[in-house]
Amino acid sequence: MSKRTIIPFGPQHPVLPEPIQLRLVMEEERVVEALPAVGYIHRGLEKLVEKKDYNQCVFLAERVCGICSFLHSVTYCQGLEEIMSVTIPDRARFLRLIWGEVHRVHSHLLWLGLLADSFGFENVFMHAWRCREMVLDLLERTAGHRVMLGVSCVGGVRRDISDEGLADILRTVDALQKEFDEFVPVVLNDYSIKQRTVGVGKLTKEQAAELGAVGPVARASGIARDFRETGYAAYGEVGFKIVTETAGDCYARMKVRCGEMYECLNMVRRAVAAMPAGAINVPVKGNPTGEVVARLEQPRGEVIYYLKGNGAKNLERMRIRTPTFANLAPLLAMLPGCELADVPVIVLSIDPCISCTER
């Protein structure tokens, strides 16, 4: 057995957007084992829920993540609506779907840029982020903010989208589709990208199931599981196609996310076409009593919120299981056997969001 060395990867590393440390046990250039160390960005948001009333906590839930922020607030609101037996108007469900799917496109484009950056492909990074800017501008025009939309509330949504706004969404979706048609095939067929991603960081279907992988990581390993199938919000009416791959490597994860971006655009088109008229929220009276487990499919996978109310205006407990937490165990299974230079690509391929994970 050759000599083993431990190399600390993170918490500050050029490719890591957020701090996590992986202690890589190396034999020559090959990783033998990866030991994670987390706790660099804990903010105590779950505790803060006990100090704020449940309506204020919608904004708190939104700040759990700086990328899939809107979907966090929707999960929280859906949980409370279930506890308080509130049925939200149809238009609110459709608006939540539209903003949610546009958010997913922005998250996947951000991820594509970061992945390209991790293997040094600056052009793809800049191109993906230029397209993402179109999405962020659309979010600002329709919701009033680029990332922290602040439009979800218990009982529906705060802001409506006018007919003109819906036409604007369709125009932007068409422009994005044109951009994707142009650069996604180039990215997926590029020789150097394939060299860095095909066969790298493999996760078999059995491993993915055993280790509880979620989202695109699970779907790239051949597990066709997506919480949107259950038809929450307006997914039941709009319908969608699960994008899966079977190879389980970094390239498959990239293909799944690129396929999902197209599927998101199609869903937004169908939702705009079927948009019902009417109110956007219903008044909610009283305080939550009881507990609920709310689940929702985020860009990174399934998020789980546990909410418990005791009749007071402040919740008694909120607990969040984020998709990155579920994907950390699969990540540790992907790393052994890879070369040191492939570690950034593999880590980025699960789309890690450490701020969410530590909250």
Binding site: F59, H145, F183
Partner: protein, 95 residues
């Protein structure tokens, strides 16, 4: 893709020379909070609802309304609950 390559080579940059060139804010964008103090009744609703504790309202006799823009998270909740609609969101920010 060739079209994109040429447009990148000979076109203008995708970025702006901020702060010399500024993009006009979109209508309805949440830039910063404004209070029309002449209409304010100092009821304190905004202070109670603010999730970031950024607003302090002094009631009678010394009626006052103070707002810490560095604490504000620009959520617009105060604008929504204001009974006299003296609070509004200015799409511009940073001025």
């Amino acid at each position: 893709m060739i079209k994109r390559v040429f447009s990148n080579l000979f076109g203008s940059p995708a970025t702006r020379l901020y702060p010399f060139t500024r993009r006009e804010p979109f209508a309805g964008s949440r830039g910063q909070l404004k209070n029309d103090i002449a209409k304010c009744i100092f009821c304190g609703q905004c202070q109670r609802r603010c999730p970031a504790d950024a607003i302090v309202v002094g009631k009678k006799p010394d009626k006052s309304w103070a707002f810490d823009r560095y604490r504000c998270i620009v959520c617009g909740y105060c604008v929504e609950v204001c009974p006299v609609k003296c609070l509004s969101m200015d799409p511009k920010h940073g001025d």
